[in-house]
Symmetry: C2
Subunit: 232 residues, 2 copies
Amino acid sequence: MTATPKILAFDIFGTVVDWHGSIAREVDAMQLGVGGSEFALAWRAGYKPAMQRVRSGELGWTGIDELHRMILDEVLAKFGVAHLDEAHKRHLNRVWHRLDPWPDSVEGVTRLKTRHVVCTLSNGNIGLLTDMAKRAGLPWDCILSAEVFRAYKPDPQTYLGVAATFDVAPHEVMLVAAHHDDLAGARACGLLTAYIERPLEFGAAQPKDVSSRPQNTLHCASLVALAARLGC
Amino acid sequence: MTATPKILAFDIFGTVVDWHGSIAREVDAMQLGVGGSEFALAWRAGYKPAMQRVRSGELGWTGIDELHRMILDEVLAKFGVAHLDEAHKRHLNRVWHRLDPWPDSVEGVTRLKTRHVVCTLSNGNIGLLTDMAKRAGLPWDCILSAEVFRAYKPDPQTYLGVAATFDVAPHEVMLVAAHHDDLAGARACGLLTAYIERPLEFGAAQPKDVSSRPQNTLHCASLVALAARLGC
């Protein structure tokens, strides 16, 4: 028997949108003389350490736009382009608001919305997620974020926060993500989990192992496949 | 010259949805032997005093679903129907999740969404606003609530919180509401304001004075009229 969640909470970066390809394309188009793919990977590599500084209390609550900018300044220096002017730096930092969805994402979320509440559960800030959804046409019922719970995933407050927001039990919520650590955090809180294969998350040069793990409730090749699996 | 806000933040109860008519219809249909209109008015009358108990610190942070239930228990007793069973009380309390939009609301918000970010700014909790939007077909870009800011309107943290969420100046946000006190709170924080006439908010027996006040940026008969006024 398939579990039937009321609420589907989606991880965003890598699961619903292609951060690597979107950033690589935009950086390449800027003709800075740096490789877009390498730049994107370096920027993303600073993400978890930056959030950890917040989680450990070293930094007070800091939103992702600001963390992205701190990392961007380091990456620009590392790549020898720290002389980029401030207006371009600000524009580039907001590339995270302009990430393109994977080809199946809009159809998948739209179909899943017909029978479930579909919401984000991302470490991205609310404004970022709203801009992204509006540009991409992602029809969320609700935008939930680490910013709402003032805690970053995998803090239990985020996963349990989704259940509390909708006044349902944890097992009535399914986290949809392309990352096993995120799904493990959700599972530890009693949520259902759906793993989505995103083999190109880090680019074609670094294909990701997307093999199935039995701990997850569902394992799907795409969000359209998840919709079909849940009868939407 | 018309001010052109980037963000439109909407009050919900009375402005976008018809709480009086929706609750009166549902209570009348329950055949409890109480007048639905009077019941709705009594329930709503407890709203501001209940929030004030939170704002004053007498109560810790308490969501609207819970405040509605506290008031409901008092109102049921007052109307002599406190014997209603728990399942019916729980169902009735969630009528606030099932409020019908005014006839112009879905078209108005849909048109306004084409050129602006449209979000809620309601004292209602996130789950309530999400359920309501999904049922009514209100296509919000983002659901913001007192729950996000842990403060009830007219606390400045709510109005300024919208601007901070989207990283814009207060004058780039317009509050859309049918209540002058809410609009005054927003104006004091530097937001633009649009008053929407809802003469039947309290029912046909108690028509509301909806005359224009010069302090507001705009005064419109409906959300469709607001869309036309903003060129959407």
